[in-house]
């Protein structure tokens, strides 16, 4: 299943001009405030008619200006979690949730409904009207409403911003499962590198209405320093990993990656299978010799390949550990002290607790 979006849409003072082809899974739309994320999502949903362009989802042409074709919004089967919840004020939470389902004549699916309600923690709100709900409660109901409408494409515009960390931590695994099991592609707008890194297979960075970067999340993340709104703290790589074993007594899980073997907290990780691991450059410490007598459990031998970027106080180094690239951010002084020039052999030291659940996506 693919999503093709090639649209141009101009309003006074702002022009959205994108040409994208997105694959299945969860694709992140990333960019600073006012960069056109919501506009793009609205165009896809049919809420704004683009000045010109073509939108195709899974072979179905949703819009084609040249051919004069525009599928009415209600036939696009797009689930949309709006930036503002937009709940129906005259319906209680339950009816809000089931609105789309009811329209499609799918009254059933109790199990699915219950699962969503439970995941979102809105079981106690079902009989309430939206007016009294807190900001986060509204947002959760809005997420549930879109999820339950059986869409063929899910658009989520900053769905988790109103939520606390604990709630996010509960919802994210659900989104992972949705992404992997339901085959519903998701376009996910977010400002949070952590969310994007964990959830998104592909990532599109927008700025001023244009695509400034697009590709596998790992690759785009690696270049985050050069992105607008440079979120240096979050720069890093994504590695594919295989669960190769556990240490039950310590509740640690062993992952094999192209960079080497790593121990991470088990949490809810599966006992086998593939996951993805994000390693932030700022979490990587470099040592000339394998460290001993330290709490960090992971140490990957590697070679400095290049100095990717140089900031005022820090440098971003690209290492090759086995066959994989890993980034490390260290102070310029350390780089000088340890003579971290290309070709230098080093060890990338990583605390297991820094590789927590937020860094791993299933």
């Amino acid at each position: 299943m693919t999503i093709e979006i090639a649209v141009r849409h101009a309003v006074p003072g702002f022009t959205l001009d994108v040409d994208l082809r997105l694959g299945n899974g969860l694709n992140a739309l990333f960019g600073p405030s006012g960069s056109g994320k919501t506009t793009l999502v609205n165009v896809i949903a049919g809420l704004r008619r683009p000045g010109a362009g073509r939108i195709v989802v899974d072979g179905t042409v949703l819009h084609d200006s040249a051919a004069g074709l525009d599928l009415p919004r209600h036939r696009r089967r797009i689930g949309y979690v709006f930036q503002e919840a937009r709940l129906f004020p005259h319906l209680d939470v339950r009816r809000n949730l089931l609105y789309g389902r009811w329209l499609r004549g799918q009254g059933g699916g109790r199990a699915e409904i219950d699962a969503v309600v439970e995941m979102l923690g809105i079981g106690s709100l079902l009989a309430r009207r939206p007016s009294g709900l807190s900001g986060g409660e509204k947002q959760r109901v809005a997420i549930g409403r879109a999820l339950l409408s059986a869409p063929r494409l899910l658009l989520m515009d900053e769905p988790l911003t109103a939520l606390d960390e604990a709630r996010k931590a509960e919802i994210m695994p659900y989104l992972e499962r949705l992404r992997d099991e339901s085959r519903v592609p998701i376009l996910y707008v977010s400002h949070s590198v952590a969310e994007v890194g964990r959830l998104a297979g592909e990532m599109v960075a927008l700025s001023g209405g244009r695509v400034v970067a697009h590709g596998p999340t790992a690759e785009v993340m690696a270049g985050l320093d050069i992105l607008p709104g440079g979120v240096t703290a979050e720069a890093g790589v994504m590695l594919d990993a295989e669960v190769v074993g556990t240490e039950p007594e310590w509740q640690l899980t062993l992952l094999d990656t192209a960079a080497g073997r790593l121990a991470v907290p088990s949490g809810d990780l599966p006992a086998a299978g593939r996951v993805r691991l994000r390693i932030r450059a700022r979490d990587v410490m470099l040592a000339l010799d394998p460290p001993v007598g330290v709490s960090a459990l992971n140490s990957l031998p590697g070679v400095v390949e290049a100095v990717v970027a140089t900031g005022d106080s820090a440098v971003l180094l690209r290492l090759r550990c086995n066959t994989a690239v890993v980034f490390a951010r260290v102070t310029r002084r350390s780089a000088a002290n340890l003579d971290l020039v290309p070709g230098r052999r080093v060890h990338a030291v990583l605390k297991s607790v820094a590789l927590d659940r937020a860094m791993i996506s299933l």
């Binding site: 209600h74 036939r75 689930g79 937009r86 005259h90 789309g100 329209l103």
Partner: protein, 236 residues
């Protein structure tokens, strides 16, 4: 009894009361659907005849009621273009029937109804309609499940205006279907009759009070209902 005697209604007056209620209720109910449609057109539509439709809707307000009654007579009377056709094909006769009184009341109340509903439609947050559309609701369903519930207070407000107007309307009614006791003599016509004769003031007062009582009851009921609806859809 003695002092109350003056306030007792004659059989004919009771008939007028019953007829007024029927006329006002039928007029209001039957004009609701077209009023909602026209209000929707006026609020949302962008078409060439917009101004003309808008003007047409307001016409019964602008024209002296007798002129409206006259026009109704010409159009919907036995010999009227529309009246003759309706009588022939649908068996629907207006002239000298209570149905004609209802038609007159409906026409006179129509601008009030449309305006109230239109204001309500214009106040609807269209983003909610957009949300419903993304959930798979076509225009009709969006209207029925989102717009309509949200404009209910406006519809109610308009209906109560139209009902009150129907209770008071007589200029167009009497001109169109005249004043036949038991058939087209509404409360308002009866009051008017009393106004025309010297010493009719007691009769005017009595029937006016009845008319006010009925309309007040309708008003209070509609207020309660609308408050209940409003509480359900408040956004605060």
């Amino acid at each position: 009894m003695g002092r109350l005697a003056g306030f007792e209604l004659s059989a004919e007056e009771w008939t007028a009361v019953a007829l007024s209620l029927r006329v006002a209720a039928v007029a209001t109910l039957f004009s609701l659907p077209p009023a909602v449609g026209v209000a929707l057109l006026l609020a949302r539509g962008r078409f060439p005849g917009h101004a003309i439709l808008n003007g047409l809707v307001h016409l019964p307000l602008i024209l002296p009621p007798v002129v409206t009654g006259y026009l109704l007579l010409i159009g919907f009377g036995r010999r009227g273009v529309i009246g003759a056709a309706l009588a022939e094909h649908l068996g629907l006769v207006f002239s000298f029937r209570w149905t004609g009184a209802a038609l007159a009341a409906a026409v006179m109340g129509f601008p009030l109804l449309v305006r109230a509903i239109r204001l309500a439609i214009e106040a609807v947050d269209r983003r909610l309609e957009d949300a419903a559309a993304t959930l798979g609701a076509g225009p009709g369903i969006v209207f029925a499940t989102v717009t309509l519930p949200l404009i209910l207070p406006g519809i109610l407000a308009g209906a109560i205006l139209a009902f009150a107007k129907a209770m008071g309307e007589f200029g167009a009614t009497i001109t169109f279907v005249s004043n036949i006791p038991g058939e087209t003599q509404t409360l308002a016509s009866a009051i008017y009759t009393f106004m025309q004769v010297p010493g009719g003031d007691a009769g005017v007062l009595r029937l006016t009070l009845v008319s006010i009582a009925i309309s007040m009851a309708a008003l209070v009921a509609s207020e309660l209902l609308s408050r209940r609806i409003a509480r359900r859809i408040e956004t605060r």
